[in-house]
């Protein structure tokens, strides 16, 4: 006896779900806003804590690691570290939480036939709200240090948009896979904890010698680089853009196939 899922085209299923899910923007945007608000409700400083936790993190890191770079490179390192961490915070949060995209929405999924992408968009929106707050801190650091940002710096905005595009497929893919295989969530958490050190955030690629030949293949490096390089090195980071482009296309194809194929099973797996 074979359980059939019918002969539906997975791409069509996935894209229909994404389209219908996006159209529920009223719902997912308010759920995202509510999630952020609820987290900080009854605290005096509220969402200022998002900025505070990011700011304190940066300052402490600078105090400890900044001295290694001496006076002259100190302010460059501050920009390097803060712009790198700005992206790392949201990338890490969205990958780690991706595993729980559908599991945490089971109350909805079991009782309402809404498109599943609603919960993907909700989580992406929630992480973008956090990103908005940390962006204020980053802007403050740049205003304080006054580096000369060239016009190529606008590429960093494009880098953020491409990152958001990637956040969606990561959640679609890991959301489905981690609902079926409950080890995935823990595996992802473990890997991401290590990735913090394998990605050039604290350290710079030219400091680690030939190890960079291996670490260059870490996709997260390139997501950081396309944001960071235009801002602080006035460099477009073209090779990193190509790397990110490939990751985006391959990731989306993979996510559409997996999500389209197994979308209807998610409700049985949660």
């Amino acid at each position: 006896m074979i359980v059939r899922d019918g002969a539906l085209n997975p791409f069509k299923v996935a894209i229909t779900d994404l389209g219908r899910g996006f159209a529920h923007w009223r719902m997912w945007s308010s759920l995202a806003w509510t999630a952020v608000r609820s987290l900080y409700s009854r605290s005096v400083f509220g969402m200022v804590w998002i900025m505070a936790s990011f700011g304190v993190f940066i300052v402490v890191k600078l105090v400890i690691f900044g001295t290694l770079f001496g006076e002259d490179r100190g302010s460059y390192y501050a920009l390097y570290l803060s712009s790198g961490f700005f992206i790392w915070f949201v990338v890490n949060a969205s990958i780690v939480s991706a595993a729980g995209t559908f599991i945490s929405a089971q109350g909805f999924i079991k009782n309402d036939p809404l498109p599943l992408s609603v919960y993907v968009f909700k989580d992406v929106a929630r992480e973008l709200i956090n990103l908005g707050f940390t962006a204020l801190v980053l802007v403050a650091i740049f205003v304080y240090l006054r580096p000369s940002v060239e016009p190529v710096g606008f590429l960093s905005l494009a880098a953020v948009l491409v990152m958001i595009l990637n956040m969606v497929w990561v959640k679609l893919f890991f959301g489905v896979v981690a609902t079926r295989y409950r080890d995935v969530r823990h595996a992802v958490e473990t890997v991401m904890r290590v990735m913090l050190f394998l990605t050039p955030i604290f350290w710079m690629p030219d400091q680690i010698g030939s190890a960079i030949n291996v670490l260059w293949w870490n996709p997260l490096f390139h997501f950081l680089e396309i944001f960071r390089a235009p801002l602080i090195d006035a460099s477009p980071a073209l090779t990193s853009w190509i790397f990110v482009g490939v990751v985006t296309v391959v990731g989306w194809l993979l996510a559409l196939v997996v999500f389209g194929r197994y979308r209807d099973r998610v409700v049985f797996w949660i």
Binding site: M1, I2, V3, R4, D5, G6, H24, R26, M27, S30, L31, T34, R37, S38, S41, R42, G107, F108, I109, K110, N111, D112, P113, L114, D264, R265, V267, F268, W269
Partner: protein, 250 residues
């Protein structure tokens, strides 16, 4: 015009981490690779037409809730076809999406957005929702400060504020104290009256006789009977009386 048509609908539920199924009913349990499956619905065909108010009966685990979820589009059937014309609204749980840290008023807006209503539509109904829940004095307090009765009243009031086309109910909804129960029952009956199709799964025979004109009888995932309420109930009673006398003989 609303209708629900099912042709040979079957549903196999994958059961994660199932153990000790050796003794289970082989006709319903099977394995695909390493994953155990339970045949929850088997070869179900029916037609629900405009104006039908269908009750679903059957013992625990007979597939009532599952069938409702297939009708609602929450589960996609493994086999067969189901066609739903009209906008189904499933009131399976009235508390879905209520946020303890938000005020009652904010919860009304959030829940309405989840139900796909615009802010304008919600505003038009807002006073009525609050008044029905009898929470005028507490509506701007966080939900976590409400008693469970108050929360249920609000959830009920929000869930039933908009009349759906196709009303799908997994058990009749009620809430609150005796006084509110009366109001709630009246609201439920008016929802049924407004809906073009109602499907209600319940164990309450008195209620089903009062609300429904047709009956669907499920037994171990199969449709044992579907038709006029009294006829199906007669067959249903006869069957279980037989089963019982058979057990007595043993």
């Amino acid at each position: 015009m609303s209708s629900i048509t099912a042709e040979n609908v079957g549903l196999d539920l994958p059961i994660a981490n199932a153990k000790n199924l050796a003794k289970a009913d082989k006709s319903r349990y099977f394995r695909v690779g390493n994953v155990h499956h339970l045949r929850v619905l088997d070869d179900i065909s029916f037609e629900i037409k405009d104006g039908d108010r269908v009750g679903i009966v059957g013992r625990n685990g007979s597939g009532k809730s599952t069938l409702l979820r297939v009708m609602a589009g929450i589960y996609r059937s493994s086999r067969g076809r189901i066609e739903v014309t009209g906008d189904p609204n499933c009131l399976f749980t009235i508390n879905m999406g209520m946020q303890p840290e938000l005020t009652g008023r904010e919860n009304i807006f959030l829940r309405s957005k989840v139900a796909g209503r615009t802010t304008k539509e919600t505003k038009a109904k807002l006073d009525e929702i609050i008044a029905f829940a009898e929470l005028e004095d507490f509506i701007d307090l966080p939900l976590r400060t409400y008693s469970s009765g108050m929360t249920t009243r609000l959830a009920f009031s929000i869930s039933t504020a908009f009349s759906p086309d196709i009303l799908l109910l997994d058990e009749w909804l009620g809430a609150g104290d005796a006084n509110f129960q009366k109001k709630a029952a009246k609201r439920m009956h008016s929802l049924v009256d407004d809906a073009t199709v109602t499907v209600l799964a319940s164990h309450n025979r008195g209620l089903l006789k009062q609300v429904c004109n047709k009956l669907m009888w499920l037994h171990l995932g199969k449709l044992k009977g579907y038709g006029p309420l009294d006829e199906v109930y007669a067959a249903h009673d006869e069957y279980y009386a037989k089963v019982e006398s058979y057990h007595k003989l043993l």
